[in-house]
Symmetry: D2
Subunit: 337 residues, 4 copies
């Protein structure tokens, strides 16, 4: 932790040194031309206590040196993690394509979706049963019935399924029917939910909050891992910016940034980032070339009548085109589907 | 709902008109110089179905005319709502000052805090027992014990207390010990939690998510109100932007915007917006002058040793100065404390 | 400058120490538990050279300790600067109200505007002659003729006038006809223009870019001051965020932040921040209470036919209401109009 | 233009209809369940006049239907534009790699840079002579001497050169020595500069402002084209967001969005987006796969001593690796270097 002093008066510096040492750190004072700096050496896992020194009038700023995550960090595990989910592998050269409708709407719709994405080459089936919707008046999902339909469609096609849990209590039932538990963007800092997922033995897909920094995202992964579940896959799905031509701004740079900071696999969801189906194919290609470990794509047999997210869902034919577009890129990148 | 056509070919327009009518709307076609527009007239509460028309190649864009909220809207209730919370009133000319420490840390700390803020003129006591922290390794709050200490400190000073619930299950116990249930910024779209708070008979303080639009914020209030709880107070606490001199950017314009759109009271939390104690006093003054119905301020008897948020907490003396600064402004604004 | 090492190997640390000393700084090495840090002590005004050390694989991050501005900083001048502009004073207790139309449109319009704002109590007249417009097909201003009409309207009412220059060449003619030169938000980092304004003897109103940090804004003031012109007034006019209910987000916290960092006066332009006339009055009040040294407000005799910015311009009667609303607040804040 | 009424009273609607017709549009009134809408049919190139209707209390919102650009739009020119710049072609299947140092620093440095990038396969040489720097105390470039050195290095290697002009007056001299005129991000809305570039016969590289929308960017291209210069290449270089792990957030979605809206070529500058050299290679790959028409990359023979942008510049060996990485991807995408 580096503490930049607002005042260089010896008694003010001494006061800070004393506080630093009371908190169990070793203090180094560096007297500069215009500013004095106190470096606090020690484990920063009590850092909010040090940050409180900013409440002193003679302290200008306190900033940390270490990244706050541990289990999710590249430093404790150098090699890439490979997360297994039924027949699918994600990370370390294994590319994963999770595809399917935004919501499970009926038996026919989910079965048809599963067959279409399987035929085109997807490796996992997605579909929402518990839907977190901005409006209380919107379709909230088929819930338990949806879970059962999704599981059946997955089994019929041999595709592992991923679906969202939105409360700590739903984690149990989702883990029972699905192969992977999704934590949605709006719940990235729902710590009760993260802890519940951390206690499950199913792998977890952790979407980045649309307002969350990469550091916070890794800290949310840390919550899951600290409960004993090491199988976390990160999913970038767009962040909020001032641009209005797209629903969100896909932060493609997150791929190499995460690769450097963490050993966890990272996939891209171009459907939610764009909010418009025309952008999904080129962004899936960009994800492959950027080095992502997979993509998650919304496909609906008939988007114009979808209960949710119709505008960003691909038609079956367009999904096949996407798969054809990424195959040669995967080959160049030495990734196997 | 307005549907802007990408194509003006009669068959494409006819296709859209048909879809619009199938969904139960009346369609008006307006042929412009360069674009054809289809207006869909009817209740937009099924609007995601219409939005799905964007999946058609011959549709450029679909946008709604109506605001999506109903109960929270100014249109269903013209006069300002006044929310009562024990002895405190919020809204309609009643100004509320909620003050106290970020976290309840000990009996002595919370009692001392309650006495200090009461003496300076605060009308409610705040203090966290269940703390949503970015890091799983940070202090997570005193939980049930903290709730009991907070309640006792409130009763001893006659101040109603407000504290946060972070999961649906905590709502019951929080409602038992506290006078107002706080929903934190990170949980603004935790719909399970919103529904649980909506079923409680205690008033709810709904903080704005740090990257949530005003529309989404009102939709979260709508979730609470749709469950039968009309007593919602909105709290602006800063949004995320590119500026790094402050922790968040206080969206002070939210006050008059909410005033126009909604009948619900709105208060300002300058402590979390700024993340720095020196900005709290001028921003509390700005909140009063902008027309807010209250403020929520972090005060700690000894910020340099606070377990959390020390850098943004006011010392007792500075909190008194804040109260002295806002009193004459409240008088000008015709607000009573 | 603090250099955080990615590697703690002695030869890597030694390499950085050597580089730091080659660039003329003194190096202090602090060996921490998990990271080694090198502090480079010396004047940071060559800092991009040090920043280049980030190109080394064994360096994780380089960050500066000192603020990059000097003349604009509070440290070189402790007392508040008061900028004089004809009969108007700005700063140090003097509050300034600059009001008038977005664009000068005709002799009648600008004269009528000047009389209206003067009668209501404004202290300066604003009006654009050279208009920077997003579209090349929009009205670009009356240019020289507009300058002359503005000057005449100012003289007739005794109001000093402020108007924008958009290119280095326009600075001369603007300085000839106006009492204060405005640098618009889009030109905040137009360094040629800043230098030209710095060579003028007229005071400069420097608007914050809608995408600029407070640090960058003060660096732009530094450009003007470094050319010899100390009379800079800063103007916050809203920054860009994801919120769409308002045109921009008014960063009201900029007032106390600037007050701490700089001795320069700061005013608020609520018209451009909001982009909607209904928000202008409450935001003008908030500006006063936050401690601003003035406001800049768009008023048009007949906004519905304005050539530009009609939607955010106040009608004459609403402008009078605004003046009535801020007077008692100015009294509380000990500011004189 | 769609005008949403706040009031449905016949006299208010009639007032708006009258105003719309006075401005030369045809008005269509659509009476909805809760809102009345007036559609104004006609050319929207006078739209700020219509927008002014928002100043009426009985109007809620006015929003445009048409995109404001014309010459830059896909509608006036269906096929992709190919911009020629000496031996280099950009667009329509031709991929361009502009590489070289941030600043021209010396004859040796620029010559060595030119040879290195040429040998690795770059098709154009970049290098700054007039540098827009945040600080007035930073190195401001070698100016005219830099231009001459850059031209010489380009001629010696057969690489066309691109360099920035920062004021209208510099356009002439830049056009004399360079093959392409760059407009930097900070000057994207410097309209005097855009007009000067529009009068030149050299092609223009227009960087996106770091907080400019795609619409504004195309409007800036429109300024150049409206002066008679059709040879504009767009360059996405990252936008500003809350994320701090990278200098800016690369808006990779801009590639397919621009492709849909405009016929102009679009290239990506991963160096400025990332601000960190390690991200440049994967982002260059992503740019190719997203369908970009080129990249612009900073390469320095010895980044640790660079006068500017050292931390984001590639070393010669890393630049060669980048070229090797994109070649097979270009083949998949059917692009020729």
């Amino acid at each position: 932790m580096i503490i930049v002093m607002a005042s260089s008066r010896p008694e003010d510096v001494e006061h800070v040194v004393q506080k630093v040492e009371e908190l169990g750190y070793k203090a180094h004072v560096i007297v500069g031309v215009e500013r004095t700096v106190v470096a606090a050496v020690g484990d920063e896992r009590g850092k909010e206590r040090l940050t409180a020194l900013e409440s002193l009038a003679h302290v200008e700023r306190v900033f940390p040196i270490l990244k706050p995550f541990k289990l999710a960090g590249r430093e404790v595990r150098h090699e890439d993690s490979i997360v297994e989910c039924g027949s699918a592998k994600i990370g370390g050269g294994h590319f994963c394509v999770m595809a399917g409708p935004c919501s499970v709407e009926s038996e026919e719709q989910v079965n048809s979706s599963a067959q279409i994405v399987k035929a085109a080459g997807a490796t996992m089936l997605r579909g929402g049963a518990f839907k977190p919707r901005t409006s209380p008046y919107s379709f909230q999902g088929m819930e338990l019935e949806g879970l059962k339909l999704l599981q059946a469609a997955g089994r019929a096609t041999g595709l592992p399924v991923v679906t969202e849990a939105t409360t700590p209590e739903q984690v149990g039932v989702v883990a029972e029917y699905a192969d992977m538990i999704q934590i949605g963007a709006r719940n990235m800092q729902n710590y009760g939910l993260l802890r519940a997922a951390g206690k499950s033995d199913k792998p977890v897909l952790l979407k980045r909050g649309m307002m969350s920094t990469i550091n916070e995202w890794l800290m949310s992964a840390e919550y899951i891992m600290a409960e004993g579940n090491p199988n976390v896959v990160l999913c970038e799905r767009g962040i909020r910016t001032f641009e209005t031509e797209t629903r969100n701004t896909l932060d493609i740079q997150a791929v190499p940034v995460i690769r450097k900071l963490s050993h966890l696999p990272i996939i891209i969801d171009p459907s939610h980032a764009a909010g418009r189906w025309e952008l999904v194919l080129p962004m899936a290609c960009a994800a492959v070339a950027a080095g992502a470990d997979g993509i998650m794509v919304e496909m609906h047999p008939n988007p114009e009548v979808a209960m949710s997210d119709g505008q960003q869902s691909l038609k079956p034919k367009r999904f096949s085109m996407l798969m054809e577009a990424i195959r040669p890129l995967l080959q160049v990148m030495n990734k196997t589907l």
